[in-house]
């Protein structure tokens, strides 16, 4: 299994580890519920160095990014971040990712850890431009600070800048604790926060610089267990779980990230046809009406008929009830519609709710 540059740090902190996308990652430090509530109330420190980063350089960079992306990369200016999807020729989602525009001829792509090889092959196969694509995942570490105290906590480490002035989905390149950092106002928790991209060699130094201030602010390190419940409450899909190569963006509830007007991209024709056809299945949010926990793979029923299955499900530490996403074939759904989820042979009541859950 692959290890991040901070692996030894997590061991010293007595983390419990888990396998995720081929990486050995911290699952939890003090406990998922405690970590989750810490991010909601103060600040959490995450090692996300498993995420993949690609650099695209050269005069064809914009053209290549546009060709691959369902969202319009042309809307980016320098210092802006775009959430987008890569789709295949049939409209299925290859990956969801962030595109950072450093300059018109220089972009950084941030992709899911489990998809690094797949995405790199996808990009290289479709690169008929002069752009050069470089996988810098191994050389790049990613540390996130997420939570209501993230701004105040980070500011003293960036003397040249007030980080509160970095708007959502924008980034600057500056020194944090003397280390050159891409400071990105993004995250996967539903909280205010930053994702800090640095050279892998600087990962331990940055972590050790930030850690005492995180503790001082009432925060703590956060593992992938709480990252999963945080993103679920925030209504954020997870690739490989809530969507895959067979799910199109409309089914995944991500249709707003498909911009077809006056531009060409891979999958466009299939997506236009899919939009015209209408939705055959869709991701919905649900809340259990008893204390049973619905997990991924469990069967969903509506009006006695089997309509789909749970893609993500967990107890919500903030809401103190059990929530999840399901992919269902029902055509017309609305909030509060009753569904049932089969758990160990018994059907338990749930209702459809709008996401985000919090």
């Amino acid at each position: 299994m692959k290890k991040t540059p901070l692996h030894q740090v997590h061991k010293t902190l007595n983390a419990k580890f888990t396998e995720f996308g081929g990486w050995e990652m911290p699952l939890q430090y003090s406990g998922i519920v405690k970590e989750h509530l810490t991010v909601r109330s103060t600040v959490g420190l995450f090692d996300l160095s498993h995420m993949g980063e690609f650099e695209i350089h050269g005069p064809g960079a914009n053209e290549l990014a546009q060709k691959l992306s369902t969202n319009d990369v042309g809307r980016l200016t320098d210092g802006r971040v775009l959430y987008t999807l890569f789709c295949n020729d049939t409209g299925g989602i290859v990956d969801d990712l962030l595109i950072y525009r450093h300059a018109d001829n220089h972009y950084m792509l941030v992709v899911n850890a489990a998809n690094i090889e797949k995405d790199l092959a996808w990009i290289e196969t479709h690169n008929d431009t002069d752009a050069e694509v470089e996988d810098v995942s191994e050389d790049t570490a990613l540390i996130a600070l997420q939570g209501p105290k993230a701004i105040d906590m980070l500011n003293p480490f960036v003397p040249e800048l007030d980080v509160s002035e970095i708007s959502f989905f924008r980034f600057v390149v500056d020194e944090v604790a003397g280390i050159r950092t891409v400071i990105s106002r993004t995250g996967y928790t539903g909280e205010t926060g930053f994702e800090l991209y640095i050279d892998a060699n600087g990962a331990e130094n940055l972590w050790h610089a930030l850690y005492p201030a995180v503790i001082e602010a009432g925060g703590q390190p956060i593992g992938l267990g709480a990252r999963d419940t945080l993103r679920l409450e925030a209504g954020l899909r997870l690739y490989g779980v809530d969507m895959n190569d067979d799910t199109n963006p409309y089914e995944a509830g991500l249709g707003r990230f498909v911009k077809s007007k006056n531009r060409q991209f891979i999958g466009k024709n299939a997506l236009l046809a899919a939009k015209k056809r209408g939705i055959e299945k869709q991701i919905i949010g649900f809340q259990m009406l008893d204390r049973a926990v619905a997990r991924a793979g469990y069967t969903v029923y509506q009006h006695g008929e089997q309509v789909g299955e749970v893609t993500s499900g967990a107890p919500s530490p903030s809401l103190k009830c059990n929530i999840g996403f399901a992919l269902i074939t029902s055509q017309t759904i609305s909030e509060d519609d009753k569904i049932e989820i089969e758990i160990r042979g018994r059907r338990h009541p749930a209702k459809i709710v709008t996401v985000p859950f919090i």
Binding site: I32, V33, R291, P315, R344
Partner: protein, 128 residues
């Protein structure tokens, strides 16, 4: 500390024998590994349990865990308070967090379980 007066499954359930009745729960080690227990699913009174087979489920935030009967018998009492307060299993695994009382079918089955010292060794081996 692992209570000396209990018998243990390798799957971390304990049994406390009082005459022909056994009380069943999970160990402190098990609850600390599972953490944040949010749901407990237990059989109804009258259900016949078979030693080493599943009788219920506990759920943490992260996952579901099957429970295995340390000893065979008929369920005569269920800790209903766990339905509304499953966190008692984390807070008090040997007392308030018990699951079931059963009428033991075959007392000799208890001899096949681990005693406290063997269970301690079993945990250390599993954790190593």
């Amino acid at each position: 500390m692992i209570p000396q007066n209990l018998k243990y499954n390798e799957s971390h359930e304990w049994a406390r024998q009082e005459g022909d009745i056994a009380t069943i729960g999970i160990s402190d080690y098990a609850q600390s590994e599972i953490q944040d227990i949010v749901y407990v699913e237990l059989p109804e009174i009258g259900t016949e349990l078979t030693q080493k087979t599943e009788f219920g489920v506990i759920e943490s935030v992260k996952a579901a865990f099957d429970l295995y009967a340390p000893v065979s018998g008929e369920v005569i009492e269920v800790n209903e308070s766990l339905l509304d307060a499953p966190e008692q299993v984390n807070e008090s695994p040997y007392d308030d967090g018990w699951f079931l009382k059963i009428r033991i079918t075959d007392p000799s089955e208890l001899d096949t379980l681990l005693d406290a010292d063997s269970y301690q060794a079993h945990i250390e081996a599993e954790h190593a």
